[in-house]
Protein backbone atom coordinates (compact mmCIF):
# COMPACT_ATOMS: atom_id res chain seq x y z
CA UNK A 1 0.00 0.00 0.00
CA UNK A 2 2.72 2.41 1.01
CA UNK A 3 4.86 1.53 -1.99
CA UNK A 4 1.88 2.07 -4.22
CA UNK A 5 1.32 5.52 -2.73
CA UNK A 6 4.93 6.38 -3.21
CA UNK A 7 4.70 5.32 -6.83
CA UNK A 8 1.62 7.49 -7.33
CA UNK A 9 3.46 10.38 -5.72
CA UNK A 10 6.49 9.83 -7.90
CA UNK A 11 4.64 9.75 -11.20
CA UNK A 12 1.81 12.18 -10.45
CA UNK A 13 3.89 15.34 -10.96
CA UNK A 14 5.34 14.43 -14.38
CA UNK A 15 1.94 13.05 -15.42
CA UNK A 16 0.21 16.32 -14.56
CA UNK A 17 2.90 18.32 -16.32
CA UNK A 18 2.71 16.16 -19.44
CA UNK A 19 -1.06 16.56 -19.34
CA UNK A 20 -0.62 20.33 -19.24
CA UNK A 21 1.77 20.20 -22.16
CA UNK A 22 -0.66 17.93 -24.05
CA UNK A 23 -3.43 20.52 -23.68
CA UNK A 24 -1.15 23.14 -25.22
CA UNK A 25 -0.19 20.74 -28.01
CA UNK A 26 -3.88 20.09 -28.78
CA UNK A 27 -4.47 23.84 -28.96
CA UNK A 28 -1.49 24.06 -31.28
CA UNK A 29 -2.63 21.19 -33.50
CA UNK A 30 -6.23 22.30 -33.92
CA UNK A 31 -6.09 26.06 -33.48
CA UNK A 32 -5.80 28.67 -36.22
CA UNK A 33 -2.43 29.68 -37.65
CA UNK A 34 -1.54 32.30 -35.03
CA UNK A 35 -2.64 30.13 -32.13
CA UNK A 36 -0.68 27.20 -33.52
CA UNK A 37 2.44 29.32 -33.76
CA UNK A 38 2.13 30.63 -30.21
CA UNK A 39 1.38 27.17 -28.80
CA UNK A 40 4.26 25.48 -30.62
CA UNK A 41 6.77 28.15 -29.62
CA UNK A 42 5.45 27.90 -26.05
CA UNK A 43 6.24 24.17 -26.15
CA UNK A 44 9.75 24.95 -27.42
CA UNK A 45 10.10 27.33 -24.48
CA UNK A 46 8.92 24.56 -22.16
CA UNK A 47 11.70 22.30 -23.46
CA UNK A 48 14.27 25.06 -22.95
CA UNK A 49 13.14 26.15 -19.50
CA UNK A 50 12.83 22.54 -18.31
CA UNK A 51 16.38 22.05 -19.56
CA UNK A 52 17.56 25.17 -17.74
CA UNK A 53 15.79 24.02 -14.60
CA UNK A 54 17.65 20.68 -14.62
CA UNK A 55 20.75 22.73 -13.82
CA UNK A 56 19.46 25.82 -12.02
CA UNK A 57 16.61 24.16 -10.15
CA UNK A 58 18.69 21.35 -8.71
CA UNK A 59 21.92 23.23 -8.06
CA UNK A 60 20.42 26.59 -7.09
CA UNK A 61 22.96 28.28 -9.37
CA UNK A 62 21.45 30.61 -11.93
CA UNK A 63 22.77 30.44 -15.50
CA UNK A 64 22.52 33.24 -18.03
CA UNK A 65 24.37 31.31 -20.73
CA UNK A 66 22.00 28.53 -21.73
CA UNK A 67 20.85 30.35 -24.84
CA UNK A 68 24.30 29.47 -26.23
CA UNK A 69 23.25 25.79 -26.16
CA UNK A 70 20.05 26.68 -27.93
CA UNK A 71 22.13 28.39 -30.60
CA UNK A 72 24.29 25.25 -30.91
CA UNK A 73 21.19 23.14 -31.52
CA UNK A 74 19.70 25.60 -33.98
CA UNK A 75 22.88 25.97 -36.05
CA UNK A 76 23.36 22.19 -36.09
CA UNK A 77 19.84 21.75 -37.43
CA UNK A 78 20.48 24.37 -40.08
CA UNK A 79 23.68 22.65 -41.27
CA UNK A 80 22.04 19.23 -41.35
CA UNK A 81 18.64 19.94 -42.87
CA UNK A 82 18.99 22.85 -45.31
CA UNK A 83 18.80 21.25 -48.81
CA UNK A 84 22.30 20.67 -50.19
CA UNK A 85 22.02 22.90 -53.32
CA UNK A 86 20.79 25.86 -51.27
CA UNK A 87 23.47 25.23 -48.67
CA UNK A 88 26.16 25.28 -51.35
CA UNK A 89 25.12 28.78 -52.34
CA UNK A 90 24.61 30.00 -48.76
CA UNK A 91 28.03 28.82 -47.62
CA UNK A 92 30.23 29.37 -50.62
CA UNK A 93 33.32 30.40 -48.61
CA UNK A 94 33.56 27.55 -46.11
CA UNK A 95 37.14 27.03 -44.99
CA UNK A 96 38.64 23.79 -46.29
CA UNK A 97 38.48 21.76 -43.11
CA UNK A 98 34.75 22.45 -42.79
CA UNK A 99 33.80 21.91 -46.45
CA UNK A 100 32.07 18.63 -45.58
CA UNK A 101 29.35 20.72 -43.90
CA UNK A 102 28.03 21.71 -47.31
CA UNK A 103 27.44 18.07 -48.32
CA UNK A 104 25.92 16.46 -45.25
CA UNK A 105 22.19 16.06 -45.12
CA UNK A 106 19.99 14.25 -42.60
CA UNK A 107 16.34 13.99 -41.73
CA UNK A 108 14.82 16.22 -39.06
CA UNK A 109 14.72 13.63 -36.23
CA UNK A 110 18.43 12.93 -36.74
CA UNK A 111 19.08 16.68 -36.67
CA UNK A 112 17.21 16.90 -33.34
CA UNK A 113 19.49 14.24 -31.89
CA UNK A 114 22.56 15.88 -33.40
CA UNK A 115 21.51 19.21 -31.90
CA UNK A 116 21.39 17.57 -28.49
CA UNK A 117 24.80 15.95 -29.01
CA UNK A 118 26.52 19.13 -30.22
CA UNK A 119 25.05 21.18 -27.37
CA UNK A 120 26.09 18.39 -25.01
CA UNK A 121 29.67 18.59 -26.28
CA UNK A 122 29.67 22.38 -25.75
CA UNK A 123 28.32 21.69 -22.28
CA UNK A 124 31.03 19.13 -21.62
CA UNK A 125 33.72 21.62 -22.61
CA UNK A 126 32.34 24.35 -20.35
CA UNK A 127 31.38 22.07 -17.46
CA UNK A 128 34.71 22.39 -15.57
CA UNK A 129 34.11 26.14 -15.25
CA UNK A 130 30.61 25.68 -13.89
CA UNK A 131 31.72 22.96 -11.50
CA UNK A 132 34.07 25.39 -9.77
CA UNK A 133 31.91 28.49 -9.41
CA UNK A 134 28.79 29.43 -7.50
CA UNK A 135 26.54 32.38 -6.95
CA UNK A 136 27.37 35.61 -8.67
CA UNK A 137 30.66 34.38 -10.14
CA UNK A 138 28.77 31.64 -11.92
CA UNK A 139 26.25 34.19 -13.16
CA UNK A 140 29.00 36.35 -14.65
CA UNK A 141 30.90 33.37 -16.09
CA UNK A 142 27.82 31.93 -17.80
CA UNK A 143 26.99 35.34 -19.20
CA UNK A 144 30.56 35.58 -20.50
CA UNK A 145 30.06 32.21 -22.24
CA UNK A 146 27.01 33.64 -23.98
CA UNK A 147 29.07 36.68 -25.04
CA UNK A 148 31.83 34.48 -26.48
CA UNK A 149 29.28 32.37 -28.38
CA UNK A 150 27.50 35.41 -29.72
CA UNK A 151 30.73 37.07 -30.77
CA UNK A 152 31.93 33.98 -32.62
CA UNK A 153 28.57 33.34 -34.33
CA UNK A 154 28.31 36.99 -35.28
CA UNK A 155 31.85 37.40 -36.59
CA UNK A 156 32.74 34.06 -38.21
CA UNK A 157 30.86 35.07 -41.32
CA UNK A 158 32.09 32.34 -43.69
CA UNK A 159 30.73 29.56 -41.48
CA UNK A 160 27.81 31.08 -39.58
CA UNK A 161 26.63 33.73 -42.04
CA UNK A 162 27.38 36.29 -39.32
CA UNK A 163 24.59 38.78 -38.83
CA UNK A 164 22.72 37.63 -41.96
CA UNK A 165 19.80 35.33 -41.24
CA UNK A 166 20.07 31.58 -41.66
CA UNK A 167 17.35 30.70 -44.19
CA UNK A 168 15.79 27.74 -45.95
CA UNK A 169 15.52 25.26 -43.09
CA UNK A 170 12.69 22.83 -43.91
CA UNK A 171 9.76 22.97 -41.50
CA UNK A 172 10.25 19.82 -39.44
CA UNK A 173 8.71 20.83 -36.13
CA UNK A 174 5.01 20.23 -35.70
CA UNK A 175 2.95 20.71 -32.55
CA UNK A 176 3.18 16.94 -32.01
CA UNK A 177 6.96 16.85 -32.35
CA UNK A 178 7.18 19.74 -29.88
CA UNK A 179 4.82 17.88 -27.54
CA UNK A 180 6.81 14.66 -27.76
CA UNK A 181 10.08 16.42 -27.01
CA UNK A 182 8.56 18.50 -24.20
CA UNK A 183 7.09 15.36 -22.61
CA UNK A 184 10.44 13.62 -22.93
CA UNK A 185 12.18 16.64 -21.38
CA UNK A 186 9.80 16.54 -18.42
CA UNK A 187 10.46 12.82 -17.93
CA UNK A 188 14.24 13.27 -18.17
CA UNK A 189 14.20 16.25 -15.81
CA UNK A 190 11.99 14.47 -13.29
CA UNK A 191 14.04 11.30 -13.55
CA UNK A 192 17.25 13.20 -12.90
CA UNK A 193 15.68 15.12 -10.04
CA UNK A 194 14.62 11.92 -8.30
CA UNK A 195 17.87 10.12 -9.01
CA UNK A 196 20.63 9.70 -6.47
CA UNK A 197 22.76 12.35 -8.20
CA UNK A 198 19.86 14.78 -8.39
CA UNK A 199 19.14 14.36 -4.71
CA UNK A 200 22.79 14.96 -3.86
CA UNK A 201 22.85 18.09 -6.00
CA UNK A 202 19.71 19.39 -4.30
CA UNK A 203 21.33 18.73 -0.95
CA UNK A 204 24.22 20.96 -2.04
CA UNK A 205 21.69 23.62 -3.03
CA UNK A 206 20.29 23.65 0.50
CA UNK A 207 23.68 23.80 2.19
CA UNK A 208 26.84 23.69 0.14
CA UNK A 209 29.31 23.03 2.96
CA UNK A 210 27.16 20.47 4.70
CA UNK A 211 26.87 18.59 1.41
CA UNK A 212 30.63 18.74 0.86
CA UNK A 213 31.21 17.57 4.39
CA UNK A 214 28.83 14.67 3.82
CA UNK A 215 31.06 13.52 0.97
CA UNK A 216 29.04 14.76 -1.98
CA UNK A 217 31.18 15.72 -4.96
CA UNK A 218 29.22 18.89 -5.62
CA UNK A 219 31.34 19.95 -8.59
CA UNK A 220 30.88 16.64 -10.36
CA UNK A 221 27.12 16.65 -9.88
CA UNK A 222 26.91 20.24 -11.09
CA UNK A 223 28.83 19.23 -14.20
CA UNK A 224 26.50 16.27 -14.85
CA UNK A 225 23.40 18.42 -14.47
CA UNK A 226 25.01 21.07 -16.68
CA UNK A 227 25.56 18.61 -19.54
CA UNK A 228 22.05 17.12 -19.30
CA UNK A 229 20.52 20.58 -19.32
CA UNK A 230 22.78 21.63 -22.22
CA UNK A 231 21.45 18.71 -24.28
CA UNK A 232 17.82 19.56 -23.55
CA UNK A 233 18.43 23.20 -24.49
CA UNK A 234 20.16 22.04 -27.68
CA UNK A 235 17.03 20.08 -28.65
CA UNK A 236 14.98 23.19 -27.90
CA UNK A 237 17.20 25.10 -30.34
CA UNK A 238 16.76 22.41 -32.99
CA UNK A 239 12.98 22.54 -32.57
CA UNK A 240 13.10 26.33 -32.76
CA UNK A 241 15.07 26.31 -36.01
CA UNK A 242 12.88 23.56 -37.47
CA UNK A 243 9.76 25.54 -36.69
CA UNK A 244 10.71 29.06 -37.75
CA UNK A 245 12.67 27.84 -40.86
CA UNK A 246 14.90 30.90 -40.55
CA UNK A 247 16.64 32.53 -37.63
CA UNK A 248 19.15 35.22 -36.85
CA UNK A 249 22.06 35.26 -34.42
CA UNK A 250 20.38 38.10 -32.55
CA UNK A 251 17.66 35.63 -31.56
CA UNK A 252 20.23 33.96 -29.30
CA UNK A 253 21.36 36.91 -27.24
CA UNK A 254 20.29 38.97 -24.29
CA UNK A 255 16.64 39.42 -25.27
CA UNK A 256 16.10 35.64 -25.46
CA UNK A 257 18.08 35.11 -22.27
CA UNK A 258 15.98 37.67 -20.49
CA UNK A 259 12.74 36.17 -21.71
CA UNK A 260 13.73 32.67 -20.46
CA UNK A 261 14.94 34.11 -17.14
CA UNK A 262 11.53 35.73 -16.71
CA UNK A 263 9.88 32.35 -17.37
CA UNK A 264 11.94 30.42 -14.86
CA UNK A 265 11.85 33.11 -12.17
CA UNK A 266 8.13 33.71 -12.54
CA UNK A 267 7.35 30.01 -12.36
CA UNK A 268 9.78 29.39 -9.53
CA UNK A 269 13.23 28.20 -10.43
CA UNK A 270 13.50 25.61 -7.70
CA UNK A 271 10.60 23.50 -8.94
CA UNK A 272 10.09 21.56 -12.17
CA UNK A 273 6.41 22.44 -12.19
CA UNK A 274 7.48 26.06 -11.86
CA UNK A 275 9.57 25.74 -15.02
CA UNK A 276 6.67 24.33 -17.06
CA UNK A 277 4.06 26.66 -15.62
CA UNK A 278 6.37 29.67 -15.99
CA UNK A 279 7.20 28.89 -19.62
CA UNK A 280 3.55 28.48 -20.55
CA UNK A 281 2.32 31.46 -18.54
CA UNK A 282 4.96 33.87 -19.82
CA UNK A 283 4.48 32.68 -23.42
CA UNK A 284 0.79 33.46 -23.08
CA UNK A 285 1.53 36.79 -21.40
CA UNK A 286 3.96 37.78 -24.15
CA UNK A 287 1.38 36.99 -26.83
CA UNK A 288 -1.30 39.02 -25.03
CA UNK A 289 1.14 41.91 -24.64
CA UNK A 290 2.14 41.68 -28.30
CA UNK A 291 -1.50 42.02 -29.31
CA UNK A 292 -1.92 44.84 -26.80
CA UNK A 293 1.07 46.63 -28.28
CA UNK A 294 -0.29 46.17 -31.81
CA UNK A 295 -3.45 47.89 -30.67
CA UNK A 296 -5.87 44.96 -30.80
CA UNK A 297 -7.38 45.88 -27.42
CA UNK A 298 -7.19 49.64 -27.73
CA UNK A 299 -9.24 50.08 -30.87
CA UNK A 300 -6.56 49.58 -33.48
CA UNK A 301 -4.11 52.31 -32.56
CA UNK A 302 -0.73 50.67 -32.15
CA UNK A 303 1.29 51.52 -29.06
CA UNK A 304 4.96 52.34 -29.43
CA UNK A 305 7.30 49.36 -29.63
CA UNK A 306 8.74 48.56 -26.24
CA UNK A 307 5.53 48.67 -24.20
CA UNK A 308 5.43 44.87 -24.03
CA UNK A 309 9.06 44.66 -22.87
CA UNK A 310 8.45 47.34 -20.26
CA UNK A 311 5.49 45.44 -18.82
CA UNK A 312 7.41 42.14 -18.79
CA UNK A 313 10.29 43.83 -16.95
CA UNK A 314 7.82 45.32 -14.47
CA UNK A 315 6.21 41.91 -13.88
CA UNK A 316 9.64 40.37 -13.24
CA UNK A 317 10.54 43.08 -10.71
CA UNK A 318 7.26 42.65 -8.86
CA UNK A 319 7.77 38.87 -8.75
CA UNK A 320 11.34 39.29 -7.45
CA UNK A 321 10.16 41.58 -4.67
CA UNK A 322 6.89 39.90 -3.69
CA UNK A 323 7.64 36.22 -4.37
CA UNK A 324 11.35 35.64 -4.97
CA UNK A 325 10.75 31.91 -5.42
CA UNK A 326 8.08 32.42 -8.05
CA UNK A 327 4.55 31.13 -8.38
CA UNK A 328 5.39 27.59 -7.33
CA UNK A 329 8.10 28.19 -4.74
CA UNK A 330 9.54 24.78 -3.96
CA UNK A 331 6.22 23.00 -4.44
CA UNK A 332 5.36 20.64 -7.27
CA UNK A 333 1.98 20.04 -8.85
CA UNK A 334 0.53 16.86 -7.35
CA UNK A 335 -2.74 15.00 -7.29
CA UNK A 336 -4.80 16.49 -4.44
CA UNK A 337 -5.05 13.22 -2.50
CA UNK A 338 -1.44 12.22 -2.71
CA UNK A 339 -0.04 15.43 -1.26
CA UNK A 340 -0.31 14.58 2.44
CA UNK A 341 0.88 11.03 2.04
CA UNK A 342 3.71 12.08 -0.24
CA UNK A 343 4.85 14.76 2.15
CA UNK A 344 6.90 12.53 4.39
CA UNK A 345 9.80 11.70 2.08
CA UNK A 346 10.24 15.35 1.19
CA UNK A 347 10.80 17.49 4.28
CA UNK A 348 12.80 19.79 2.04
CA UNK A 349 9.59 20.94 0.42
CA UNK A 350 8.39 22.40 3.69
CA UNK A 351 10.83 25.25 3.92
CA UNK A 352 12.39 27.77 1.65
CA UNK A 353 16.05 27.11 0.93
CA UNK A 354 18.44 28.76 3.34
CA UNK A 355 20.37 30.45 0.61
CA UNK A 356 19.87 30.09 -3.08
CA UNK A 357 23.26 31.38 -4.14
Amino acid sequence: MKNQNRLVAAVSTPAILIGLVLVVALIGAYGDVTTARVATLALVSVVFVVGLSVFSGNSGVMSFGHVAFMAAGAYTTAYLTIPVPLKKSLFSDLPGWLSWLADVHTSFPVALLAGAVVAGVVGLVTAPVVARLSGLQSGIATLAMLMVTYNVLNSWTEVTRGSSSMIGIPRGTTAWWAFAVAALAVVVAWGYRCSRGGLQLRASREDFWAAEAAGIAVGRHRAIAWVISAMLCGVAGALYAGYLTSFNVNGFFLAATFSFVVMIVLGGYLSLSGAVVGALAVSALQEVLRRFQDGQFTGGSALPAGVADLIVAGVLLVVLVKAPYGLMGVRELRLPGSRRRAAEPAPEAEREPAHAG
Binding site: M62, M145, V152, L254, L310, L317, L320, H355
Partner: protein, 291 residues
Amino acid sequence: MIIEFLVNAVGLGALYALLTIGVALLFGVLGLMNFAYGELILAGAFAMYLFRDQPWPFAVLMAILFSVVVAVVSERLAFHPLRDADPVTLMIASFAVSLALQSVARMTVLPRTKGVPPESFLSHRIEFLGADVSVLDLLTLGLCGVMLLGVAWLMGRTSLGIQLRAAAEDFRMASSLGVKANLVIPAAFVIVGVLSAVGAAVLVARQGSVSAEMGLQPMLIGVIGAVLGGMSSLKGAALGGFLLGAATALLESLLPTDLIAFRDAFLFSALIAVLVVRPQGLLSGTKVRVS
Protein backbone atom coordinates in the same frame (compact mmCIF):
# COMPACT_ATOMS: atom_id res chain seq x y z
CA MET B 1 53.64 59.43 -32.83
CA ILE B 2 54.44 57.82 -29.51
CA ILE B 3 52.92 60.73 -27.56
CA GLU B 4 49.82 60.55 -29.71
CA PHE B 5 49.45 56.86 -28.99
CA LEU B 6 50.08 57.42 -25.28
CA VAL B 7 47.43 60.12 -25.03
CA ASN B 8 44.98 57.83 -26.81
CA ALA B 9 45.82 54.76 -24.72
CA VAL B 10 45.89 56.58 -21.39
CA GLY B 11 42.69 58.42 -22.28
CA LEU B 12 40.90 55.16 -23.11
CA GLY B 13 42.33 53.66 -19.93
CA ALA B 14 40.98 56.54 -17.87
CA LEU B 15 37.56 56.23 -19.50
CA TYR B 16 37.44 52.48 -18.84
CA ALA B 17 38.58 53.05 -15.25
CA LEU B 18 35.69 55.48 -14.83
CA LEU B 19 33.21 52.95 -16.21
CA THR B 20 34.66 50.22 -14.00
CA ILE B 21 34.40 52.27 -10.81
CA GLY B 22 30.71 52.79 -11.49
CA VAL B 23 30.17 49.02 -11.50
CA ALA B 24 32.56 48.27 -8.63
CA LEU B 25 31.19 50.91 -6.25
CA LEU B 26 27.65 49.52 -6.25
CA PHE B 27 28.98 46.00 -6.08
CA GLY B 28 31.11 46.83 -3.07
CA VAL B 29 28.42 48.67 -1.14
CA LEU B 30 25.38 46.50 -1.74
CA GLY B 31 26.53 43.42 -3.64
CA LEU B 32 24.74 44.61 -6.76
CA MET B 33 26.25 43.65 -10.11
CA ASN B 34 24.45 46.41 -11.90
CA PHE B 35 23.49 45.53 -15.46
CA ALA B 36 21.37 48.66 -15.60
CA TYR B 37 24.56 50.73 -15.50
CA GLY B 38 24.52 50.96 -19.28
CA GLU B 39 21.10 52.58 -19.13
CA LEU B 40 22.38 55.24 -16.71
CA ILE B 41 24.90 56.06 -19.42
CA LEU B 42 22.04 56.00 -21.91
CA ALA B 43 20.18 58.57 -19.80
CA GLY B 44 23.20 60.87 -19.83
CA ALA B 45 23.72 60.34 -23.54
CA PHE B 46 20.08 61.12 -24.15
CA ALA B 47 20.54 64.46 -22.38
CA MET B 48 23.55 65.15 -24.59
CA TYR B 49 21.30 64.52 -27.59
CA LEU B 50 18.44 66.63 -26.23
CA PHE B 51 20.65 69.63 -25.47
CA ARG B 52 22.94 69.24 -28.48
CA ASP B 53 22.28 72.84 -29.55
CA GLN B 54 23.17 74.29 -26.15
CA PRO B 55 26.74 75.00 -25.03
CA TRP B 56 28.62 71.80 -24.35
CA PRO B 57 29.24 72.33 -20.59
CA PHE B 58 25.51 72.96 -20.09
CA ALA B 59 24.71 69.72 -21.92
CA VAL B 60 27.14 67.86 -19.65
CA LEU B 61 25.46 69.34 -16.56
CA MET B 62 22.07 68.22 -17.84
CA ALA B 63 23.53 64.76 -18.55
CA ILE B 64 24.65 64.56 -14.92
CA LEU B 65 21.19 65.61 -13.78
CA PHE B 66 19.46 63.00 -16.00
CA SER B 67 21.75 60.15 -14.99
CA VAL B 68 21.55 60.95 -11.28
CA VAL B 69 17.76 61.16 -11.38
CA VAL B 70 17.49 57.82 -13.20
CA ALA B 71 19.98 56.22 -10.81
CA VAL B 72 18.15 57.43 -7.69
CA VAL B 73 14.72 56.51 -9.04
CA SER B 74 15.86 53.02 -10.02
CA GLU B 75 17.31 52.56 -6.53
CA ARG B 76 14.06 53.70 -4.96
CA LEU B 77 11.75 51.59 -7.11
CA ALA B 78 13.73 48.43 -7.79
CA PHE B 79 16.74 47.94 -5.56
CA HIS B 80 15.42 49.40 -2.30
CA PRO B 81 12.77 46.69 -1.85
CA LEU B 82 15.42 44.04 -2.62
CA ARG B 83 18.03 45.30 -0.18
CA ASP B 84 18.33 42.00 1.66
CA ALA B 85 18.16 39.79 -1.42
CA ASP B 86 21.09 37.65 -2.54
CA PRO B 87 23.44 38.93 -5.29
CA VAL B 88 21.96 36.76 -8.03
CA THR B 89 18.44 38.05 -7.37
CA LEU B 90 19.82 41.60 -7.46
CA MET B 91 21.56 40.84 -10.75
CA ILE B 92 18.32 39.53 -12.28
CA ALA B 93 16.52 42.61 -10.98
CA SER B 94 19.12 44.84 -12.61
CA PHE B 95 18.50 42.98 -15.89
CA ALA B 96 14.84 43.90 -15.53
CA VAL B 97 15.64 47.53 -14.76
CA SER B 98 17.95 47.61 -17.77
CA LEU B 99 15.27 46.24 -20.09
CA ALA B 100 12.63 48.58 -18.66
CA LEU B 101 14.78 51.69 -19.17
CA GLN B 102 15.75 50.58 -22.68
CA SER B 103 12.09 50.03 -23.52
CA VAL B 104 11.20 53.50 -22.25
CA ALA B 105 13.94 54.97 -24.43
CA ARG B 106 12.75 52.97 -27.44
CA MET B 107 9.10 53.89 -26.86
CA THR B 108 9.66 57.60 -26.59
CA VAL B 109 12.45 59.12 -28.60
CA LEU B 110 15.01 56.54 -29.62
CA PRO B 111 13.39 53.91 -31.84
CA ARG B 112 16.36 54.53 -34.14
CA THR B 113 19.92 55.75 -33.74
CA LYS B 114 20.14 59.54 -33.59
CA GLY B 115 23.18 61.47 -34.63
CA VAL B 116 24.72 64.07 -32.36
CA PRO B 117 26.74 66.56 -34.42
CA PRO B 118 30.27 66.77 -33.04
CA GLU B 119 31.17 69.91 -31.13
CA SER B 120 33.39 71.97 -33.37
CA PHE B 121 36.00 72.59 -30.69
CA LEU B 122 36.40 68.84 -30.13
CA SER B 123 37.50 68.04 -33.64
CA HIS B 124 40.40 70.52 -33.58
CA ARG B 125 43.89 69.15 -33.43
CA ILE B 126 46.51 70.92 -31.38
CA GLU B 127 50.17 70.79 -30.62
CA PHE B 128 50.80 68.90 -27.34
CA LEU B 129 54.32 68.15 -26.12
CA GLY B 130 55.52 68.36 -29.68
CA ALA B 131 52.90 65.92 -31.01
CA ASP B 132 49.71 66.51 -32.96
CA VAL B 133 46.75 65.24 -30.89
CA SER B 134 43.01 65.79 -31.15
CA VAL B 135 41.20 67.85 -28.52
CA LEU B 136 38.81 64.93 -28.09
CA ASP B 137 41.60 62.63 -26.92
CA LEU B 138 42.91 65.29 -24.57
CA LEU B 139 39.41 65.97 -23.24
CA THR B 140 38.83 62.25 -22.63
CA LEU B 141 42.05 62.10 -20.71
CA GLY B 142 41.45 65.33 -18.80
CA LEU B 143 37.80 64.81 -17.89
CA CYS B 144 38.18 61.17 -16.87
CA GLY B 145 41.39 61.93 -14.99
CA VAL B 146 39.71 64.72 -13.04
CA MET B 147 36.75 62.47 -12.22
CA LEU B 148 39.07 59.71 -11.03
CA LEU B 149 40.96 62.16 -8.78
CA GLY B 150 37.60 63.45 -7.55
CA VAL B 151 36.45 59.95 -6.63
CA ALA B 152 39.77 59.23 -4.94
CA TRP B 153 39.42 62.42 -2.87
CA LEU B 154 35.80 61.69 -2.02
CA MET B 155 36.50 58.13 -0.92
CA GLY B 156 39.69 58.95 0.94
CA ARG B 157 39.14 62.32 2.57
CA THR B 158 35.46 62.86 3.28
CA SER B 159 33.18 61.45 5.93
CA LEU B 160 30.83 60.11 3.26
CA GLY B 161 33.71 58.30 1.58
CA ILE B 162 34.79 56.67 4.80
CA GLN B 163 31.21 55.56 5.48
CA LEU B 164 30.96 54.18 1.95
CA ARG B 165 34.17 52.23 2.36
CA ALA B 166 33.07 50.94 5.73
CA ALA B 167 29.76 49.83 4.23
CA ALA B 168 31.60 48.09 1.42
CA GLU B 169 33.81 46.28 3.91
CA ASP B 170 31.06 44.98 6.21
CA PHE B 171 27.62 46.41 5.80
CA ARG B 172 26.09 45.03 8.99
CA MET B 173 29.00 46.08 11.18
CA ALA B 174 29.05 49.54 9.63
CA SER B 175 25.36 50.08 10.20
CA SER B 176 25.59 48.99 13.81
CA LEU B 177 28.33 51.60 14.25
CA GLY B 178 26.03 54.33 13.00
CA VAL B 179 26.46 54.34 9.23
CA LYS B 180 22.98 54.97 7.87
CA ALA B 181 22.00 52.61 5.06
CA ASN B 182 19.46 55.14 3.81
CA LEU B 183 22.26 57.65 3.41
CA VAL B 184 25.12 55.65 1.94
CA ILE B 185 23.16 53.60 -0.59
CA PRO B 186 21.46 56.55 -2.30
CA ALA B 187 24.78 58.42 -2.09
CA ALA B 188 26.49 55.55 -3.90
CA PHE B 189 23.82 55.70 -6.60
CA VAL B 190 24.29 59.47 -6.95
CA ILE B 191 28.06 59.05 -7.39
CA VAL B 192 27.47 56.30 -9.95
CA GLY B 193 25.02 58.59 -11.74
CA VAL B 194 27.62 61.37 -11.97
CA LEU B 195 30.31 58.97 -13.17
CA SER B 196 28.07 57.46 -15.83
CA ALA B 197 27.02 60.91 -17.07
CA VAL B 198 30.64 61.95 -17.58
CA GLY B 199 31.27 58.61 -19.28
CA ALA B 200 28.24 59.28 -21.48
CA ALA B 201 29.47 62.75 -22.45
CA VAL B 202 32.80 61.33 -23.54
CA LEU B 203 31.24 58.36 -25.33
CA VAL B 204 28.77 60.52 -27.24
CA ALA B 205 31.58 62.83 -28.33
CA ARG B 206 33.58 59.82 -29.52
CA GLN B 207 30.73 58.00 -31.29
CA GLY B 208 28.74 60.96 -32.56
CA SER B 209 25.45 59.12 -32.07
CA VAL B 210 22.94 57.97 -29.47
CA SER B 211 20.89 54.77 -29.57
CA ALA B 212 18.83 52.71 -27.15
CA GLU B 213 21.40 49.89 -27.20
CA MET B 214 24.46 52.06 -26.65
CA GLY B 215 24.72 51.22 -22.94
CA LEU B 216 25.57 47.55 -23.48
CA GLN B 217 29.21 47.95 -24.49
CA PRO B 218 30.27 50.35 -21.68
CA MET B 219 28.40 48.23 -19.13
CA LEU B 220 30.26 45.11 -20.25
CA ILE B 221 33.56 47.00 -20.10
CA GLY B 222 32.75 48.00 -16.53
CA VAL B 223 31.93 44.41 -15.57
CA ILE B 224 35.06 42.95 -17.18
CA GLY B 225 37.28 45.62 -15.68
CA ALA B 226 35.76 45.14 -12.24
CA VAL B 227 36.21 41.36 -12.33
CA LEU B 228 39.76 41.63 -13.66
CA GLY B 229 40.77 44.18 -11.07
CA GLY B 230 39.10 42.48 -8.14
CA MET B 231 35.66 43.63 -7.13
CA SER B 232 36.41 44.15 -3.48
CA SER B 233 38.50 47.29 -3.75
CA LEU B 234 37.85 50.40 -5.80
CA LYS B 235 41.54 50.98 -6.45
CA GLY B 236 41.95 47.49 -7.86
CA ALA B 237 38.85 47.93 -10.00
CA ALA B 238 40.07 51.28 -11.33
CA LEU B 239 43.45 49.77 -12.14
CA GLY B 240 41.76 46.79 -13.82
CA GLY B 241 39.65 49.11 -15.94
CA PHE B 242 42.65 51.25 -16.79
CA LEU B 243 44.72 48.27 -17.90
CA LEU B 244 41.77 46.94 -19.91
CA GLY B 245 41.46 50.26 -21.74
CA ALA B 246 45.17 50.54 -22.40
CA ALA B 247 45.28 46.92 -23.58
CA THR B 248 42.30 47.53 -25.89
CA ALA B 249 44.03 50.53 -27.45
CA LEU B 250 47.16 48.44 -27.85
CA LEU B 251 45.28 45.44 -29.33
CA GLU B 252 43.45 47.62 -31.80
CA SER B 253 46.65 49.01 -33.21
CA LEU B 254 48.50 45.68 -33.15
CA LEU B 255 45.94 42.93 -33.95
CA PRO B 256 45.53 41.92 -37.60
CA THR B 257 42.22 43.22 -38.92
CA ASP B 258 40.56 39.82 -39.39
CA LEU B 259 41.05 39.03 -35.70
CA ILE B 260 39.71 42.35 -34.36
CA ALA B 261 36.16 41.08 -34.90
CA PHE B 262 36.86 38.35 -32.34
CA ARG B 263 38.28 40.74 -29.73
CA ASP B 264 35.26 40.33 -27.45
CA ALA B 265 35.54 36.54 -27.59
CA PHE B 266 39.15 36.78 -26.38
CA LEU B 267 38.22 39.29 -23.66
CA PHE B 268 35.35 37.21 -22.30
CA SER B 269 37.36 33.99 -22.43
CA ALA B 270 40.02 35.78 -20.39
CA LEU B 271 37.28 36.86 -17.99
CA ILE B 272 36.11 33.26 -17.51
CA ALA B 273 39.71 32.16 -16.99
CA VAL B 274 40.22 34.83 -14.31
CA LEU B 275 37.00 33.81 -12.56
CA VAL B 276 38.08 30.18 -12.49
CA VAL B 277 41.71 30.67 -11.53
CA ARG B 278 41.64 33.82 -9.42
CA PRO B 279 38.07 34.77 -8.49
CA GLN B 280 39.37 37.54 -6.25
CA GLY B 281 40.74 39.32 -9.32
CA LEU B 282 44.14 39.64 -10.91
CA LEU B 283 45.25 42.69 -9.02
CA SER B 284 43.57 42.31 -5.67
CA GLY B 285 45.32 40.75 -2.72
CA THR B 286 42.41 40.64 -0.33
CA LYS B 287 39.78 37.96 -0.11
CA VAL B 288 36.76 38.12 -2.34
CA ARG B 289 33.45 39.37 -1.04
CA VAL B 290 31.34 37.32 -3.43
CA SER B 291 29.01 34.85 -1.75
